[in-house]
Symmetry: C2
Subunit: 515 residues, 2 copies
Amino acid sequence: MSRKFVCTPTEPVVQTKAGKLRGYAVDGTYTFHGIKYADAKRFQMPTEVEPWDGVKDAMSYGYICPILADPVPMGEVMVPHRYWLSHENCQYLNVWTQSIDSSSKKPVMVWLHGGGFTAGSSIEQVAYDGENMSKYGDVVVVSLNHRLNILGYLDLSPFGEQFKNSANAGNADLVAALKWIHENIANFGGDPENVTLFGQSGGGMKIWSLMQTPSADGLFQKGIIESGVLSGFLNGAKGNGTLIVSAMLEELGFEKNDAEKLVTVPYAVLAEAYKKVAPSIAKQGAYIGCAPMQNDFYLGDPCEVGFTEHAKTIPVMIGTVLGEFAFGPGIPNKHQLSQSETEAMIVKKYGDNADQLMQLFQEAYPEKHLTDLLDLDSLFRAPTKDFIAKKAAYNQAPTYSYLFAFEFPYDDGKAAWHCSELPFVFHNTEKVPICNVPGISDRLEEQIFGAWIHFAKSGNPNGAELPEWPACQPRDEATMVFDRTCAVKHNFDNELIDLHHKVASKLPFEGTVLY
Amino acid sequence: MSRKFVCTPTEPVVQTKAGKLRGYAVDGTYTFHGIKYADAKRFQMPTEVEPWDGVKDAMSYGYICPILADPVPMGEVMVPHRYWLSHENCQYLNVWTQSIDSSSKKPVMVWLHGGGFTAGSSIEQVAYDGENMSKYGDVVVVSLNHRLNILGYLDLSPFGEQFKNSANAGNADLVAALKWIHENIANFGGDPENVTLFGQSGGGMKIWSLMQTPSADGLFQKGIIESGVLSGFLNGAKGNGTLIVSAMLEELGFEKNDAEKLVTVPYAVLAEAYKKVAPSIAKQGAYIGCAPMQNDFYLGDPCEVGFTEHAKTIPVMIGTVLGEFAFGPGIPNKHQLSQSETEAMIVKKYGDNADQLMQLFQEAYPEKHLTDLLDLDSLFRAPTKDFIAKKAAYNQAPTYSYLFAFEFPYDDGKAAWHCSELPFVFHNTEKVPICNVPGISDRLEEQIFGAWIHFAKSGNPNGAELPEWPACQPRDEATMVFDRTCAVKHNFDNELIDLHHKVASKLPFEGTVLY
């Protein structure tokens, strides 16, 4: 059915601090793509964009940050992608909103994409499209690109004061985007005092790192951290850049200490040099960048150094999915396996711990097929539980826990993988066919989407058609398990995850890392 | 609303000549992405893929061909893109079908993408998605990637027999794809004896070049050429590769005649060398490749050398759009201009010919705003009319003419631009917001889509809810003008286009070439 498209010389036009922007409207959803929120020279802090006269069009997604790897097309039925054009001048954001009246003051939801701190973009996944979230949730949705990998997170500070915070340039872009939102979002119908960050994987890590970043204090009020706590992830960002940058300079044939040369060399050349020298430096356990570095800009991992006083006051919703890295093929003929065949597979993987894990798994997930234990994640779940326990212990702002355990209609039924909740979160299951189970997935989408929207509106996810969902209390993790039937379970997987994490962290890594 | 997703270990699985492939189904549309239809070494003819055992997944779009340029994100509201991962090993196709029963014998529609012979891909535009076309048309839709630019069209034949047909390698990929379709499409529910090529811009050029390619005879039965005849477009492909390849060898520091070196140098390096040396060789009027070269594989432009006996027998539907290269901003306040303001703008552009052009334009398009004359295309329309006249004169197979003249709801009303009919053709206006005019665009979509589907089924576009549309006769061009009201007009713009083409071909090129 036709929708009403509006884009005239005068409508919709919004005044921003730097100048006027024109977007378009579809059935009342105002859409602005590719708004430049900052400029930046390589390795430098971002600066405000230059003002302009007249009206600029904001109808094409902006450049995304170049990445180190050459991705291979794969797994598209599980995680459909939208690749885009890249350039290091990538400080762009997108806005979807139901109003451009500055008195509307609708909740603002800011999407921080995944891909660690090295890859991804605001539009990398088909599921990231913000139109439905804005329309069905009556919220202002913002998504954004920022500097990644060595452009965003490489410490050159030992090579000169001019590179003081290059190790956190990517996160500084995020702060600049939040500042742009704070100053401009009212004219897009948003409430600058009600900004919720939500992000998955690296996007979740960005949220807790921004909670620990004083210059971001007051620029957002709440956070939804989805599969965003992974043990030891930031270890490569400890120390400083002396070794890695020296090695890059040598590899490129530049003088020792002449880091200025790295400012002008083409990105592709810089990236090749980094990829060549980084592995051996990583092996020494030294700093290789590609994640925020603790300094006076970023105060460090809250689970290691403690939450800042401000971070303690931020309501957080946080969770993981059942299978996370289970990107590989499903268990063949899962539902036709005999009990003994099933047990044999589990013993093969978990050895002496198999019996106890099976018992704990069946207690935690009585309705699940036992083979899902083969896909069970604890690499995210264990440190996420630790985050929850520590945050809840402060008892200063609510912390809500969830676990996404939906079985997808793929192969013989596949445990939820990393990213797989996102089409539900964005109300975009219509765009991602694998999510669709007639009679089931629409309801689950309303429940998950509703919880995210309610949390963004009020800091409390209750209100959607879900069982009552209490915040976690010290030593009481109340977890909303999102599944065909949603239910809150208290401390339901503590023993399972404890044991699994001990066992799994010694197993060879079996997953396929798409991110 | 949820749709039914099916992808089990056994369903949907299709047997091809080389092995079994698994796709997925959504509400009964079977979908196979990224099927490898051929392999090829650089500059060599494609070969059949190696057979495999077991079942391969075909659920991720394959690599697209690398391109020479770095595109800039722009014009997305007019032509939304889907960029993708590139690699010269890019012989992949996609299939959407309503049946995988080999007795179904449904019409097959093969989409050849635009971008000249240098750029683009099977999924470059959001509008190219084949699901709706298959579902609403009950046809098998195939789209494909092939080698482009210097990978597909660079003549190295003067440098050795091993490079005999490198100048047409990209079109040889197309023939390989058509051969794959001929041999395999029955198992995807298609009729290998009822294959219609449709393509726009470069895609249209591919169709008429394949009509003149003996090895493609019998591999397709009909063609729909959309904005695919452009005067002088292939001039750069005349002569042979001696000059350009010698210049590239010199630029790269390789020995004269050592063209083998060009086989192994990375594409990015090859492309840089080409881009550096090509302009000066083009200035001399010499061959620079990037389009098919006339030889015993490809017999040449039918309007120059005459249609082959086989080409004469192929039913063709062919047309253009009103504005083609009118990608720039619309005429400001078009509908508020006074008659004298309007005329002043037209006189400014067309000088002494303005009065006659205005009269002819108003006769051809009495319902159009006079400022649309400023956007009127004749660069495609004039040679397209020549193609139609020549083809119809043979009188051996029907030739249907159309013109897409829809005014889009953008700025103050914008004349149809290059590519703008595609969302209607693919039944994808729901995916491209700018097409949407409530009460108007849905009906136009049914009419255009219906005509394309009827032509694919029977070689005759009649049957959709359109006025009777006769084939062209010698000296009688019966043109279906697709607009808010569709109508057939006979020789309605002959004088207009004659004069406009004479005038416009002397004007500086004002358009923005996105393709």
